[in-house]
Every structure is written in structure tokens, then in C-alpha cells.
Symmetry: C2
Subunit: 923 residues, 2 copies
């Protein structure tokens, strides 16, 4: 006979696949001496056997073993299951190998029936408690095991409460609760056409099947798909059957949830909440707002000391922050469950670092405990404290960080609007496991009820999304899709801001600012740097960007986009002058005025970066990007012509008043209406500009006249930029500053292009060295963002001293997707229908673009074995892509400043995971 | 002492590297018994030794060996070099290993001086001949060896001619010629500040040096660069020194040029021209218009028989059509030179085939004798005989084929305008070797003087460009860049058409039609097919295209573009209706009307092709290509609004008369001015269209929503097309016709896309098979035109049964060049400055795109070893690209119908050259 059932004394605490996470843990907890209520586990094998049977019958022998298990429980507790005297009740709880909070359904107080009710009443003398338990059990069993909609029970409950004029559940009397349970039984009978089952073993069998079935329920399947949980990670759910202990046996009883450390800040203190005279679900579901754990120190000092001891036991054993549930039954503390605590990034960083410092774990463990993406939370902007804004409501700071989006009042709508690309805040009275898809789609969560360990708070923290919970000042009307906060009413679509670090809620968008680095994070990342082989550089275009990048730990600048410098308002007119110039001389004239500006730009950046490399990319975009749009110009010219007609009396003012209105800010001089000649002049200039714009028009600008193609056509642009770089370097050297500039050529497709530019670089170097009497040291390299450059890397490496993959453009070219067109037109469909698993512009396409990169590196290093190769596309900051970059032997990744911490940690992970196969989703 | 000089009796006739083509040939001719004037060759080694010396001195011993050579000539001829009695004169002629017509400078009558003049006069008693020779010698020597500009002499010549009132050179008397030679000597003295050299050996030494130097002259260097002649192919020029024979010794003397067969038609008859009482240069330079060789049969019947014998001797020995020069000196025939005849494609095909048939050569030799590109001449359109056009002039049909372009009157301008992409006809009085760059840039050549063997004719034929020569009715004024033909005057920029097959010249563009296949070409290509491994398919979109393709020997259709079918005027409105449809139903409705149309299209093509494969590509371009342009619509709407205002009396008619004018053909109903409501309706429809156009706008349409991306977004389009293909196949099968359709998916980047489309194909196949009660057999394949598809070929091959490289798109994506933008903006510069050797859209980029293809084939065949892989880009018809396609193991190439003969021959060449390394110019 196959063994399906394991008592907590015998189950292998490490075998989560067999016993589920909770089951294994209960065994482990029992076996390490924690005070856990007695119980046993039905294995996941039983679940799979059950689900595998077409008729879905329990496997042979299972119920016999369950009965034997119950018999043991009866022995340990001295109670009898379903008995009239001293009855035994059990909880029935799911638990798979991986923790899926709220995913599975749980039934409490199983074993209650008319008979055992009498036993419970006579044993405890607490009529109220008994009827409370009874009505809870009927409700849960009815909902979960028999599939009766929950609101059927809610209505019955509210009717009795309203009739009694009671607002707080705790004020309900035994009679009220008896009435409620009577109503609940009637509801069950009416819905199932059968009386409520009285045999406790029948109850148990129905409950076990319901748990098993829930493994294939929509929520569970959705969750597994969303998080990519495959059968080899978790397959089937175990069932945990545990003797009930009661937190609702009076004021010497309580129930609570706690973390061994503060999961919001990481502070090394016991953190949690409890409710006196309540059962566990009251805390989790947020129906009553619980008290902070510290209050227990006064209310039950002895128990509080036991909790501190428990906390110590848990951490000594698990060496990881624990999230545990406890119940106090008539002054006795039971630990019902423990699991690794889900924390936000701040807390995870702090606790991990402190656990290294206290010797609990080693650095590698600490690094691996944090998913790199989480660190972005720490970098995301928080609300600007200077912003003069008044919150419309306050709630609990349930998951730190700030978020802004339109209010949406149910999960389905949140999913819909989120899919359409809107930023959404999910606003609910309270959230339930079935809302999970709404969480995925939202920027943040706001609830009007529930505490820091409510479903909304726990799930939001797990996802790293800001959450304000229990904002009691807000009245949510889910039916009408609106809410009121005092005088303020808001609806679906209203822009709101929440601050999960303070619990404040604001109407509209509140200004946000950058986050600062904690010392723990700095320390952790310094360990990451020790571990990593990949260097992490920044994409930065200004001295200020460079400073921020350095403060985030950038080891250099991997991409400095020189064109961004031309967009500033003092430079753009000169740039435009250069572009519209009709001959080389006029162009050179304009460029000669840009030269000192660029030189100062570069000098500023070089000064910040010092010895660190600064990779300066020569002009990349097509020059028409600096000019006005054709449509704008034709409109302006049309308006000016009409204006002129009015001025000359050809057209009456009334006819053209709309044109006048539209042209009023085209040119200040026109406002005077003084001189049609002035208007003519402006028209003439604009027409010249229009001709230029039309001449520069391109059918496919992404594949057009840009980068080195432009550089070779108008040599004066690149030579100006090269001179600016080298003069900046020379001036820094003269001032005694170490500098490390690198000149990088964009859009290269053949070594010939590099050769030409390199000749200019050599000439200018000689001139600048003579001019400043210095010896310049710098490097010359090439972007690899054109497919042909990758194919010819062996050849390019003869000219280039380094390569940098521009994976944004390279991805566009490799897929033949224009990013903007693709993301607007077909990419959502491709992702939704799994033609592509990911957006290749966010997640590096390992099998296509990645394979090309791998070959390019190989070919390039055939020519120049020690060649440094980096990546400066958006992917440079994406952990999975970083792991791939490490694998194919890149020297560095370069990413935007806020992604640097993520990238540093990801680089360390990549090194730690070296040799392990990369799970790749691309198709 | 190194041997520099070889007499014709001792030189190795095969050693062209040492003796040059002409020199080796003269040796060979002498040694096989042809009547060649005695002479010797100075080796190319001497040339290189001379050029290698910084001071450019003749190598030691050379002049001694030359003197010995001359001494031998004196013995053989009984004449004395520079002597007063019976003087010996020689020609000095360059000749490198490869024939470069007109590239090198030649000096005749060397040895003439005041002394030998007397000898010549006393020997021949022909004063006129003597002075004619003398003035020619001074002129040539002055120009070539002493570098005196030619027009200096021309002026002197014309002055004497004009003063004497003479138009034809032959009418000049001995006195006139004596006067001219006197003037020439004065010109030389004036220009060189020295008397004309009298010592014949001094003359010889100067001439030898001039020949050597001409190897490094601009014209020679240009030619070698243009035709890719590297030092291993030809290095240095030899000098041929030959005893002069005189065609201008009276009316029993003559000079001529002949081909052993007609180089224009290939007809097996002696072909050529001669001038009585003239020297060879008179024929080549086209200064006098010569007589056809047949006339010699009457004038000198004996000599004519000797020429027929000579022709037989030449072909028996060389087994290739010979182009030879001859001179008749006082009734004695000398053969001065022979070389392989440059012929047009028609002649080359015919002579090659006939030489196989007569056993001269084998098939392989015949195939290799023809450059595949030449066959395009045979396919290019010629003038439509139905066109009612009247020529403005007639000339000699000097190189067949027709061409149209703007008249340009000098080579520099032709080069300039040709570089800018204009089609140019070079119009000259006569051309000279220094015009060669103008030939490269022109579509065709027109001269007003010179015969079929004039410089213009020979060079144009060699290049396969149409040429009309000696069109005497045209007076060219090179100074004013214009010409007159009777009453007609035309200028630079005037569009003209020339027909090199008839010699006619037309003003404007004359309609052209396709050429027909000759039986010889069909036979030759059938030999090519036997030899080739690559199959040749056609790109064809209609039954008519398919018929033409089959007539050109297409073995199937490699690319049938279904979208072209939608552009016909009866289909476009339905297509537009489908595109603007607001929902799937309306779209399906429109498509259901397109279905029978497409089915008939496919049926027509399948019927033509029968058992041959027909590869049908599903819709490829973005759908906005079927809609009007945004600008056009906004203009129309603006105009309609103005019209409406007029109709409603808001605006006066006079104000808007221009709008009315411009909108008059927008919509026929509006012309009635009856009902502003009608205008409103039209405006509304146009606005709806405008919204659609704007909604469909793409930033980079080349990388946009097209091909399979579009197909997956709107499944009803592809499913309609698939159904049309399969129904067409079913109907053919029912009619008992064998068919072989192949469905091809464009723009694929991942196997998932193929998988989806394949599911549709399978479903529709089942339906169609049931509907028609047939069993369908067809194949399903993928374009490889996206880089990622190449990288994932291994994976794609699981779904695709064949691949077809779309190298147009693949080249764009690999280079990140948008073709239209590149060719307009920077590609000319890139080619001119040799950053890229070729236009990659014309010549397959072997090292980039080609390398990618090579990998894709390898990866694809890892999955499906026998997979057929083709190419259907423009490159499929380019010989060098075809050779590469053969090398990397493609199954077939597909190209436009007119390229099929080229491709078939190129495929044979590829097979013949298999294993030999491909010379690749890409960078």
C-alpha cells in the first residue's frame, strides 16, 4: 500500500515536492521543537493520483490512512473527531512546493456538526465561540468545498448584523451567531438540494478533494503561468490537516501574523499584528483592523516573551526572515505556520546584509537572496517632499514606493486598461486572491480596509508594487466604479497618486524625486562587484548624469550620446543653422561655434569620470531630427500667407480671424501687423526650411542617412566632434586630471567606414597634441548595431579597439521590426498569442540577436583576442540579458543610471550561476 | 646580359605576360606562316625595369639589343634605318598581356628625317606619299613622345587645307603636305625649344620610353581600375617594333581592318572595311569613311582571295573569331595584327554555337566564351517597329541595341550626369581613347564621323552598349554643347533615342519592345542547363509573365507576388474597401469578392506552368500602400471644403477659382455644382479615408506592419489567399492538369509565425479537398528575408519545407540601409569613395549578407538535410551572385524574366568554375 499520509513527526522537512512547502515546514517545525498543533500531511503524490484519474476518485488506501492519522490526532489531543464530548476539529489547508500566497483555498473548523457543536458548547461553555466557529465553518466549507457563491453568505450575515444594529463583528451575540449559522445551513440546503453534511469524515473527504481540485483552478493556473512555474518546480498540492486551535476562545485568546524582522524596513525587530478573540483569517482578510504586535507586550507580557523566543528559534534555524502565523488559545501560544518572509527591496537588502554581518549567511547567499529587478524599487522616484500637496486620505504604508495612475475599481478593468498601456491604480475595499490579475496590471494598490498583512499588502510587497492599505477615509463603491474621500469624489479614470512609504493618497499626479542609496545597499553592491566579471557602465550624456551614475556605482560611461547635447535651447539654433547651410563653408562656420560648446560638455563629463572610461559616440541620428516637422512648417506658412492677405486688405479680418489666432505666436514681429515685408521675409525663411526638410525626408529613417553614413557625407561634423573630444581631454590633462576618453562610431557596416574616421582621428590627434603640447591617450571603437557589422566583426576588429553592441537598433534590424511601429501595431498581439514570449526590445532575444552577438564576439576576438566588448542598448540593464551577456563573454554592460544597481547585482548573479544553463523563453 | 628583345621568329607566341598580347601574337603569326612585316618585341620586363628605376632610364643593354634588332630588320628588308637610299621605317606600338583597345599610344613611320625623306622620295618617286608620311610622323611623334597638344597640329593642318579650299584629305597635293610638315616641324621647335630629332635611334629611344610611360598614364590606369585588371593579369607593356608597310603608296595600296566573321550578327562571312591609299590609323580613327570589304572583290580580286585564305588560316589556328589589321603595299598583302574579335552578344552566341557545330571548340569552351551579362543585350527591348517615329538622322549600326537618354556632348559631363543617376547618350563628332570614362557613364554612343571599326564602335561593342557611328547628317558643336540634324537643334539635356541595330537617331523617347530568342541562343542555353546544378526560376505575377518566363527557359516560378494582383483597376477598389472596413465582417465581405479573382489569377498561372513549381508568396507589403497618400487626401479635402463654401455663397467664386480648377476632377458629381450635400458626403468619405491612412501611418514602413505580421493580425486576408491557391490547384487537378503550387510566407522572424499559418493551411486544405473531392499536393515554405529568420533557420526548417532568400529586404536589414534612402543619399558617395565596391542591392554582398545566408543554409539543413533553398531577390539574376549561390549550395535562383538567360548561363559557369576561388570585391 502506497504511503500517502505523513504525520508531522515523521515527514521529511526538506521534501517540499512531496509534502508541499507548508507541510514540509510543519514537519520541520514540529521536529525542531516548536509548539505546533499536531497534524499530518497528505502528499502531493495523492493529489496527482487523484487528478490523474479521469473519474477523479481518491487513490486507494488514502482515506484509510487519513482515518489512521485522525486517530493519532485524537490520541495526541485527547479529543474525538466529530464527537459530542471534547470534540476534535481540524483545519484543511493546501500547500504546494512553492509558496503561492492566497492561491489555494483553506477550510477551518472541519468536524463541526450538530453533534460536535454540543460537545464544543459543553466543553468550553462558550456558546458564542461555538456558534461563531460553526457559522465560519459552514460558510467556508460551503464556499470552497461545495462551490456556493460567497455573497450568498455575506447577505445572510449582514442582514442579521443590520437587524441587530451592530457594526463590529465582535459585538455579535451567541444568539446572533446561532441565527447566522441556522441561515447558513438553510442556504447550503437550498443551493445544494441536500442537507449540510454531518459526518466529519464525509466533510474531510469532500474538503480533501476540493483542495486537490483547486490546484487546477483558474487562479492557480494563472499564477503558475504568470510566474513561469513549471511542473518540475511544483506539481500538485499537498493537504495539511492540523488540529484546530482557537484564537477566538475569549480575551485570553488571540491570533496573529508576524515577521521575524520588519518586512518594510528590514529593521531587526519583531513585526506583526494580532487580533484578540479572533481566528486567523480575520487578520489575513483584513476584515477587522488588527493591533500592532508591540501592543501584546502590555496585553500578554508572557506570551510576548514567548514570541521573541520563537522569533529567535525561527531565525536560528532558517537563517532567513520568517513570516509566521500564531494562535493563542486560552493563554497557550501555538505556531501554526512559518515561511520565508516576502519583503520589499529595502528590507531584503538590509536583512540580507545584517544576516551576513551576524554570521547567519555568507555573501553569496545574501546576493542571491535578492532578485536584481527588485533593486529598481530603491531607485524609482518617491514623492517630492517639497511638493505642496494635501493628501485626500491616509492609510497604512503597506508596501513602500510611490505610484501614480488612473483609479480603477475592479481587477478585470485594471487588466483591460493596463493591457492597453495605461498606468492604473487598483482601488478596492479589500482585495482577494481572485484579484491577482488586477495586481499584475497595476502600478499600485489602494484598499480602504485591511492591515499591513492583508492580502493586498502581502501580494503588493511580493510584487514590489506600492500599496496603501486600510485607508479608512475612503469609501469605495465598487458597483458605481467610484470612491469618495471626504468631499472629494473620484471615478474610474481619475488620476491619483499613492505613497506606499507613508500611506498617503493624493488626487492627481504628485512630483516625484530620485531615491537615495542606503549604506546596506552600497555594501551589498560592493560584494556584488567583487563577485562579478562583467563591468557595469552608464549611459550618461551630461556631467550631472555622470555624477548620478558614479553615485550608483558606474565604472565608466559606456554611452555618451553627443546628439543630446545639441538639443539644448542654446545649441539647437546653431545646429539648425549648420543643417540648413547651403555649402561646406557655412556649415563649418556654424560648427566652429558648436565646437567650444561640445568641448566644454565633454570636459565636464571627463572631469566627473576621471580615470574611468568615457565612451563618446559621434553623432548618430539623422539630421532631420533637429528640424521642425514638415506638417508644422506647411501649416505655419499657410497661416502666414493668410495673415499677409489680411494685412494687404485682400482678405477681410473676419474671414481669417482663426488663422490670426493660430499664428499669433509664430513670430513676435508679426504681432505688430506693421509691415507685410516682414511677413514675406519670415515666409521666405520658412519656405527655405521646408525645402530642406523635404530634401532630407526619408522613407525609413531608422535605416537612413545617419550615424557614420552622415559623418562621411559631411566630414566637418565628425571632425568637429572628434576635435572637441580630444581638446577636452588635452585641457583636462594639462590641468593634471586623469582622463580616459573613447571615441565610438555609430551605425558602422564596413571596416572602410572606420578606417576613414580613424584617419581623421589620427590627423586631429596630431594637431591637438601639437597645439596643447600633450600626448593624448584614448581608444577608438565601433558600435555593433548593424547586422553586417556583426557579420564582419573579424574585419572591423582590425580598426576598432573596442566594440559596443547597440542592441536597440540591432534588435530592430534583426527582427525587421521598427520599434515604434511594432509596439503600436502588432507586438502586443504577438506577445498575447505567444508568437513571441517577450518584447524583444525589453528582453534580449537570446536565440536571434543573442546568437548574432555571440558570433560577432567570436569573430572579433579572432582578430583582437583581448578586445573589450560591451552592450549599450536598453537590454544592458535587464538581468536575464545581463546573464546572457556574461555567458557570451562581454566585458561590460552599459545602462541608464537607475538600472546600474540592478545591473551590478545581476552581473554578480551571472558570475555565481556561471555554467548553469540559462532558461530561455525566446522562440 | 638580360634578353630584352625577341624577334618575331624567336618569341614564344604563348608568353603574353612577357611579350604582350600583340607581340606574342606577331611572333605566333610569323611562326605559323602568315605574311607579317618583320619586326621584334621589347619585353614587358624591360618596361617594368624602366618604370622601377627612379630616374626612369632604359635598362642596360636594351638599346644595344634594339640596334641589333634593327640591323636584322635591315637585313630582312634590304632597307637601311634612317638611310637616304631605300630607307627603313618602323612602327612603334605598345601591347600588354591583356588587350586594351586604344588605351596605348602608337607611333608610325619612325625613322623619317630630312635625310630619309630624300631616300623615300627617290625610292618611290611619290613626293605626296613621302610628305604625307612625314607630316603624320611629326604629328604623332610630337603628340605622343614629346607631349605636344594635338590641336596645335590640327590647327596647322586645317589652315593649309582651308587656304587651298580642300575638304577631303586625299585631295591635298604633295606641296600642301610639304607645307604641312614644315609647319609641324616649326610647331615642334616652338613647343620644345629644340629642333625635331633627326637621329632615328634617338627617335626610337624617345618613342620606346613614351610607350613605357603610357602604361602609367591616366587612361591606362583608369581602364585597369574599371575592369579590375591586377598586376597578376597584366604587368607592364611590351613594345612592338615592326617594319613599316605602306597602304598609302598609291591606288594599288590600301589598308583595312577585318573580322573573320561579322561581329554584329555572327554571320560566317569576312567582314571589314578598307581605305585605298591610306594608312591604318585613317580607318581606326574614322577620319575618312572606309568602304566595305566586299568592294575589294571587285577592286583587287586577287587580294580578296588572299584575304579569304588568311581568314581561314586565322580561324583554323585560333579557333576563335579574329579581328585583324592588314595593309596592301603596292599589291602585296601584309597581316599586321590579329586578336580575338570583340563581338556583341548575338554574334558571340552565334559564332560560338557554330564553332561547336563545326568542331572547332567544345560546348564548355563555347559557354565560357560568353559573359552571362552580355545575354541581357539580347533581352533588352529594341525599338517598337510600330512606333510612328521619324529619325532625325542615320548613321552606321555600329553596336546593336537601342538606348534612350539625354544628349551630353563631352565625356566629363557624361560622367557627372551619369553619376547623378541620369540616363545619358554621349554625342561626339568622333571619340578618342581619352573619352573612355564617358562611355562607362552612358547608355549609348552617337558619333557623326567614323565607321564600324572606329574607336566609338569598337569600344561600345566591347561594352555591349548601343552605338550609332558616322551619322553624317548630324553636326556636332562640342563648344556650344549642341548639335543640329537638319532643322532640328538639340542641346545637352535633350532626350534622344538611338538604335544601334539600324543606325537611326530619334528625338525624344521611342517605345521599345522585347527581343526574341535566336535558335542559337536556345541551343547554347540548353547546353548551359546540362552543365548547371542551380535551377533557374522566374519572378512572375501574371499568366502573361509566366508565359514569357517559360519562353526564356524558366524552370518554375520562384516568386509570384500576390499583392501585384490587387493593384489592377478592377481589384483596387475592393482592396481599399477591405482595408477601410471597420470590422472583421466587412473585411471578410470584401475579401470574399477578391477570392474568386485571386483564384482565377492563380489558376491562370498554374495552367501555364503545369508540372513546374509555382511559388506563391502571401501578401507582403503594408496595406497602407494600397491607399492614397496623406498629402493627396488633405489637399483634396481642403479643395472640397472651399468648393462647398463657394456653393453655399460663403466665399465668392473669384476668390476660389483656383480651388475649383484644382478640384474639377475630384469627383464627377461635384462638377454639376448641384448639391452641397453631395460635396459633404464626399468630404466625409475622404475624411474617413484620411483617418485610416493616418492610423496606418508607419515611421519605418520597411520594418513595419507587413508580411506575416499583417497576416497574423488580420487572418482573413491570408486565409482568403490560401483558399484561392488551393481552390485553383483543385480546379486544375479536376481538369486533369498537373500542378505544383507552393505557398510561401513573407517576413517571417520566428517559427511560431509559420506554425500559425501552417495550421490555417492544413484546415483549408481539408476543407478544399472535401469540397472538390481531390487530394491536394503542395509545399509550404518561408521567405528568409529577416535576419532573425536566418539565425533561427534550424528552427524554421521544422515548419518550412523550403526556404527562399529575399535578398532585397535581407540586404536592407543587414546593412541597415533603406534602399531608396541609401541610393538617393549616400550610396553614390560610398561607391565613389570605395567605402563599398558595389551597390549591395545590385551585387550580392558576399561577405555580409552572403555569410549570413551561408550560415542559414547550414542551420536549416541540419534540420531538413534535403531542403530546397532558393533566392528570389534581384540578386538572383546577377552572375557573380549566382556563382556565390552555387557555391553555398542553393537549389535555385529566381529572377525577372529578362534575366533568365543570363542566370542560366551564369549557373553553368558557376558549375564549370566550381572549386575555383571566387574573386570577391566586397569590403
Amino acid at each position: 500500500m502506497k504511503k500517502w499520509v505523513y504525520s508531522f513527526h515523521e515527514g521529511d522537512g526538506k521534501n517540499k515536492r512531496l509534502l508541499g512547502g507548508k507541510g514540509a515546514n510543519l514537519c520541520e517545525m514540529t521536529q525542531i521543537g516548536l509548539h505546533v498543533p499536531p497534524g499530518f500531511v497528505i502528499s502531493t503524490e495523492a493529489c496527482l493520483a487523484f487528478l490523474g484519474e479521469p473519474a477523479q476518485t481518491l487513490p486507494p488506501g488514502l482515506m484509510e490512512q487519513v482515518r489512521a492519522g485522525i486517530t493519532l490526532l485524537e490520541k495526541e489531543t485527547g479529543k474525538s473527531f466529530g464527537g459530542r464530548d471534547n470534540p476534535l476539529f481540524v483545519s484543511v489547508r493546501s500547500g504546494s512546493a512553492l509558496s503561492m500566497p492566497g492561491m489555494m483555498d483553506t477550510i477551518l473548523n472541519l468536524g463541526l456538526n450538530e453533534e460536535s457543536m454540543q460537545g464544543l458548547i459543553s466543553k468550553t461553555g462558550n456558546l458564542r465561540f461555538a456558534y461563531d466557529s460553526y457559522r465560519r465553518f459552514i460558510q467556508l466549507f460551503g464556499k470552497i468545498a461545495l462551490g456556493i457563491p460567497e455573497d450568498a453568505f455575506d447577505t445572510g450575515f449582514s442582514q442579521v448584523k443590520d437587524a441587530a444594529g451592530i457594526t463590529d463583528d465582535i459585538d455579535l451575540s451567541a444568539d446572533h451567531l446561532a441565527e447566522i449559522s441556522q441561515r447558513y445551513r438553510e442556504i447550503v440546503s437550498a443551493k445544494t438540494k441536500q442537507p449540510f453534511p454531518q459526518d466529519p469524515y464525509e466533510q474531510l473527504e469532500i474538503a480533501i478533494k476540493a483542495v486537490f481540485l483547486s490546484w487546477m483552478g483558474k487562479r492557480a493556473v494563472d499564477y503558475r503561468r504568470e510566474f513561469g512555474i513549471t511542473p518540475d518546480m511544483a506539481n500538485g498540492t499537498a493537504v495539511n490537516i492540523v488540529a484546530m486551535v482557537f484564537g477566538n476562545m475569549g480575551n485570553d485568546s488571540a491570533t496573529g501574523v508576524a515577521f521575524t524582522r520588519d518586512p518594510g524596513t528590514g529593521e531587526n525587530v519583531l513585526f506583526g499584528e494580532y487580533l484578540v478573540n479572533a481566528q486567523g483569517e480575520d487578520v489575513v482578510a483584513g476584515i477587522r483592523t488588527p493591533r500592532p504586535i508591540a501592543a501584546l507586550q502590555d496585553e500578554m507580557p508572557g506570551i510576548y516573551q514567548e514570541l521573541l523566543l520563537l522569533r529567535r528559534q525561527l531565525e536560528d534555524h532558517y537563517r532567513e526572515v520568517q513570516d509566521f502565523e500564531f494562535t493563542i488559545e486560552k493563554g497557550v501560544l501555538y505556531c501554526l505556520q512559518t515561511r520565508n518572509g516576502k519583503m520589499n527591496a529595502t528590507a531584503l537588502v538590509r536583512t540580507s546584509v545584517e544576516m551576513v554581518q551576524s554570521g547567519y549567511i555568507d555573501k553569496k547567499t545574501a546576493l542571491l537572496r535578492i532578485q536584481p529587478e527588485m533593486l529598481e524599487q530603491l531607485i524609482y522616484p518617491h514623492l517630492d517632499p517639497q511638493a505642496a500637496v494635501t493628501p485626500i486620505a491616509h492609510g497604512l504604508p503597506a508596501s513602500p514606493g510611490a505610484a501614480c495612475g488612473i483609479a480603477v475599481f475592479n481587477a478585470d478593468r485594471a487588466e483591460q486598461r493596463g493591457m492597453q498601456g495605461e498606468k492604473v491604480i487598483l482601488v478596492r475595499e479589500e482585495t482577494k486572491p481572485e484579484d491577482i490579475h488586477g495586481f499584475f496590471a497595476s502600478q499600485g494598490i489602494l484598499t480602504s480596509r485591511g492591515g499591513k498583512t492583508s492580502h493586498a499588502a502581502v501580494v503588493a510587497r511580493g510584487m514590489g508594487k506600492p500599496c496603501v492599505a486600510g485607508a479608512g477615509g475612503i469609501v469605495v463603491d465598487g458597483q458605481r466604479n467610484s470612491a469618495t474621500a471626504g468631499d472629494v469624489e473620484f471615478h474610474e479614470g481619475t488620476l491619483i497618486t499613492i505613497d506606499g512609504s507613508t500611506g498617503s493618497v493624493y488626487l492627481g499626479r504628485v512630483p516625484m524625486i530620485e531615491a537615495a542609496f542606503s549604506p546596506e545597499l552600497s555594501l551589498l553592491l560592493s560584494w556584488a562587484d567583487e563577485m562579478a566579471r562583467l563591468k557595469v557602465m552608464a549611459n550618461a550624456d551630461t556631467p550631472k548624469d555622470a555624477e548620478i551614475a558614479v553615485s550608483f556605482g558606474a565604472m565608466g560611461i559606456g554611452l555618451c550620446r553627443t546628439e543630446r547635447m545639441f538639443n539644448a535651447s542654446d545649441r539647437l539654433p546653431i545646429m539648425v543653422e549648420m543643417i540648413v547651410a547651403e555649402n561646406e563653408n557655412d556649415r563649418k562656420n556654424a560648427l566652429s561655434r558648436l565646437l567650444p560648446i561640445q568641448r566644454e560638455d565633454f570636459k565636464g563629463i571627463l572631469q566627473v569620470m576621471g580615470f574611468r572610461p568615457v565612451t563618446i559616440r559621434l553623432l548618430d541620428p539623422p539630421i532631420h531630427e533637429f528640424l521642425p516637422q514638415e506638417q508644422q512648417l506647411t501649416d505655419e506658412i499657410q497661416n502666414l500667407r493668410n495673415l499677409r492677405k489680411v494685412m494687404l486688405g485682400i482678405q477681410t479680418l473676419s474671414e481669417s480671424v482663426d488663422f490670426l489666432y493660430r499664428t499669433r505666436d509664430v513670430h513676435p514681429r508679426i504681432q505688430k501687423f506693421a509691415d507685410p515685408g516682414l511677413v514675406d521675409e519670415v515666409i521666405k525663411n520658412k519656405e527655405a526650411m521646408l525645402r530642406k526638410v523635404r530634401g532630407l525626408h526619408e522613407i525609413n529613417p531608422m535605416l537612413g542617412h545617419r550615424g557614420v553614413r552622415l559623418g562621411l557625407t559631411f566630414p566637418e561634423i565628425y571632425t568637429m566632434q572628434i576635435r572637441a573630444v580630444l581638446e577636452a581631454a588635452a585641457e583636462c590633462q594639462i590641468e593634471g586630471l586623469p582622463v580616459n576618453p573613447q571615441i565610438m562610431v555609430p551605425q558602422v557596416c564596413t571596416a572602410q567606414e572606420l578606417k576613414r574616421v580613424k584617419e581623421w582621428v589620427e590627423e586631429i590627434k596630431t594637431e591637438v597634441e601639437a597645439q596643447y603640447t600633450v600626448s593624448l591617450s584614448f581608444r577608438f571603437g565601433s558600435m555593433l548595431e548593424v547586422v553586417r557589422a556583426c557579420m564582419r566583426a573579424e574585419n572591423l576588429a582590425e580598426e576598432a579597439e573596442f566594440f559596443s553592441f547597440g542592441t536597440n537598433d540591432l534588435t530592430q534590424a534583426t527582427f525587421s521590426f521598427s520599434r515604434e511601429d511594432a509596439e503600436n501595431k502588432f507586438l502586443p498581439l504577438y506577445n498575447m498569442s505567444h508568437i513571441l514570449q517577450d518584447n524583444p526590445f525589453e528582453v534580449l532575444d537570446v536565440k536571434g540577436v543573442g546568437l548574432l552577438m555571440e558570433h560577432a564576439i567570436k569573430w572579433g576576438r579572432q582578430t583582437r583576442p583581448e578586445m573589450e566588448v560591451g552592450i549599450c542598448g536598453e537590454h544592458g540593464g535587464h538581468p536575464a540579458s545581463i546573464r546572457f551577456c556574461h555567458k557570451i563573454g562581454l566585458t561590460y554592460v552599459s545602462c541608464s543610471a537607475p538600472r546600474i544597481p540592478v545591473a551590478r547585482l545581476a552581473a554578480a548573479h551571472a558570475a555565481i550561476f556561471e555554467g548553469e544553463e540559462i532558461q530561455d523563453r525566446s522562440l
